[in-house]
Structures are given as structure tokens and as C-alpha cells.
């Protein structure tokens, strides 16, 4: 059971890492990247290094996610997808 969870987490880790670079939408890419960090935090706990897990969760999932979101907001990339869709509908 333990082994199965481990393998599942590692497979999800690779899947997240690959899908970040294949995602077209930047917002989804940031969300996937944040979930990558959360999975990594669980993997650190399973590897018996809780210190790294706390730091990974705080920095990888917290700070990095917030900063990426704010950068997207600042360069107006969050609304651009929906705007394009609206324009297509109008046409």
C-alpha cells in the first residue's frame, strides 16, 4: 500500500512537470506548478525530511504561486483568454 502511494505520487509528479510545459494557458500552468510543489511536499514527508516539506509547501506552493499570479495579473494575462473567447462569440 505504502509502495503504491509512493509510485502514484511520483507518477503524478512527472505528469505535473510535463503538463506545465504543454499547457497553453498561463493561469493553468501556474496552478499545475503549485500542485507540483504540494505533491513534492508530500514526497518529502514520505522521505522523512519534514523540514524540507514545510519549506516546500511555504515557498513552492505559497510564495511562488502568489508571485506568479500577481505577475500574470500585472501583465494582464489572466483575462486575456476569456476576452478572446468573448470576441470570438461576438463575431
Amino acid at each position: 500500500m505504502d509502495e503504491a502511494i509512493r509510485i502514484f505520487l511520483l507518477v503524478m509528479l512527472i505528469a505535473c512537470a510535463v503538463s506545465v510545459s504543454f499547457t497553453k494557458k498561463l493561469l493553468s500552468a501556474v496552478v499545475i506548478f503549485t500542485s507540483y510543489s504540494l505533491i513534492m511536499a508530500i514526497v518529502w514527508v514520505l522521505l522523512e525530511s519534514p523540514d524540507l516539506a514545510v519549506t516546500e509547501a511555504a515557498v513552492g506552493a505559497g510564495i511562488t504561486g502568489v508571485l506568479f499570479f500577481l505577475t500574470l495579473k500585472k501583465i494582464n494575462m489572466i483575462d486575456s483568454d476569456t476576452k478572446e473567447n468573448d470576441e470570438d462569440e461576438k463575431k
Partner: protein, 311 residues
Amino acid sequence: MKMKRNDIFRRFAAWFSGKENIDDCIEQQTDDAFLTQDGYEHHRRHEKLMRLLEERPEESLRSLEIRSFNKTYIVLSVLVCVVLAGVLLYAVSFMPRFGTADNPANNEVADKYLEDGLEDTGAVSAVAGMILDYRAFDTLGESFVLFTAVCCVMILLGREDGRVSEKCECYEGENDQILHRLVRVLVPATMLFGCYIILNGHLSPGGGFAGGAIIGAAMMLWCVTLGFRSTERFFNGRTFRVVTFAALTFYCVSKTYSFYTGANGIASVIPLGTPGAMLSSGLIMPLNVAVGMVVSCTMFGFFSLFMRSKI
């Protein structure tokens, strides 16, 4: 390349023989160059491009060039990645197997930390004892890296006149009551959790860096939802400078003292206390607080500078 070199030679020959209009001379000669192999290939390529242009008139020559460049770029980048991965894997094959007992990494240093750590530092968490006592100098360097980074960003992005453009206030939750209530409940709890992680750094996993990051994230959340006006009341550029400077100075002075006593064999006056108690393990808890303050101020400072060029 060959064509170019020929051009240069021709230009030089024309200049040497004293002709006035060198460019005309060269143009004329390149027309003659159709007879040579290079010229013929160039001509064919040009014709192909023109044919493509006629078939798809919306595309210019430039876009065709860009497309061929993109193709080359993709091929080259894949090639570089594969070669690099091959070289690195080849290098890894020379390393000792992962997890073997007699690896160079498993030396007496780790044993020393694990066996004598509790006695030497008084910290229950071996990691805290390691990074803030045995290896305190590394942590000091990390804190200074963060401090220097913020200083550089301040120099690059900070505005001297303190003018803040209202447009830059990137928050939308001005009138969102749900968001406001939620943040007012969530942020104090998050900050409390960060303080707990910092103060418990010598007893449990975590420590200054993680706790500081959590507090910084909480401050960012507050700022994004309630606007910069509400954070300016308790955190501005002056607070940032004072807090960071005080924390780093305290770190330097206290570690200088402990290095001095340790190196000269003088007994330190700072008691280690009972391991496991809240007030124990000598300097580790104050140092954790200092690191946490630097990290949280740095995180919020980055955010603030990037959002509106002012802390």
C-alpha cells in the same frame, strides 16, 4: 559564407583598381555569378520563395524566413538537450551507487551532528541545530543574499519621489465583502501559524525560513485584498529597513560572540536550557526569529516593489 567572402574580395579589387561606384560594380558581377554553382543555387532558392509567395500571397518573405529559423531552432534545441542529457548521464555512471554505506557522503560529519547535536546545541530538531549552530555562517550568507536582492530591486525599481500611480494597485477586492471577511479571518491565523513555526524551530520541523515565508505570504494576501493603504500603516520602507537591519545586525553580533567563545574555548554565558523546553538551545530561537523577520520582510518587499515600485 563563400558568397560573402567573394563579395568582399570583389569589393576590395574594385576599390584597389580605383573604380568610383563600387556597389554598382559588385551588383553587376553578382549577376554574372549566376553562372557559378553558388549563384545558381541562390537563384533557385529565390525562385522557390517567389513561387511560395505567389501561392500564398498573405505571407511575406520575412515570415518564410522566420518559419525556417523556427524549424532550425527546434531541431537544434532538441539536439542540444539530447547531447547534454547524454553527457550528464555518462558522468553519473562514474559516481558511486546511490545509498551505498561507504559513499563519500556518509562520513563522520553526519555522525557527529546526529550523536552530539543535542548535547552541543540543545536543539531537539537536529536540522535546526545544524543550520543555526554548526553551519550558522551559511544561514547568515543566505540572509544576506535575500537582503542584497531586495536592495538591488529597490535600486532598480524604487521611485525616489515616492509617487504611487493608482493604476498599479492591482487588487480588485475593494468592494467584495466575502473576500474581506475571509481574509480578516484567514490572515491572522496564517500569521500565527508562521510565528509558531518560527518560535518552535528548534523543537519541530520548520524554522526561520519557512515561517518567514508563511508570514510574508499572509501579508501579501492581506495587501492584495485590502489594498496597499491598509498595509502602509504598519509596514513601509522605513519599517523594512529598520527591521531587516536590526535582524541582520543581531545575527552578526550574536554569532560573532558564539564563534569567538567557541574558537577560544571560553565557556559561553548563554545557557542551553533543558532540551525540549520552549526557552532552550541557546541562540537558536533568537536567530530563528531574526531569519524569519528578514525572510518575511524580503518576501513582502519583493511583492510590494514589483506591484507598485515602492515598499
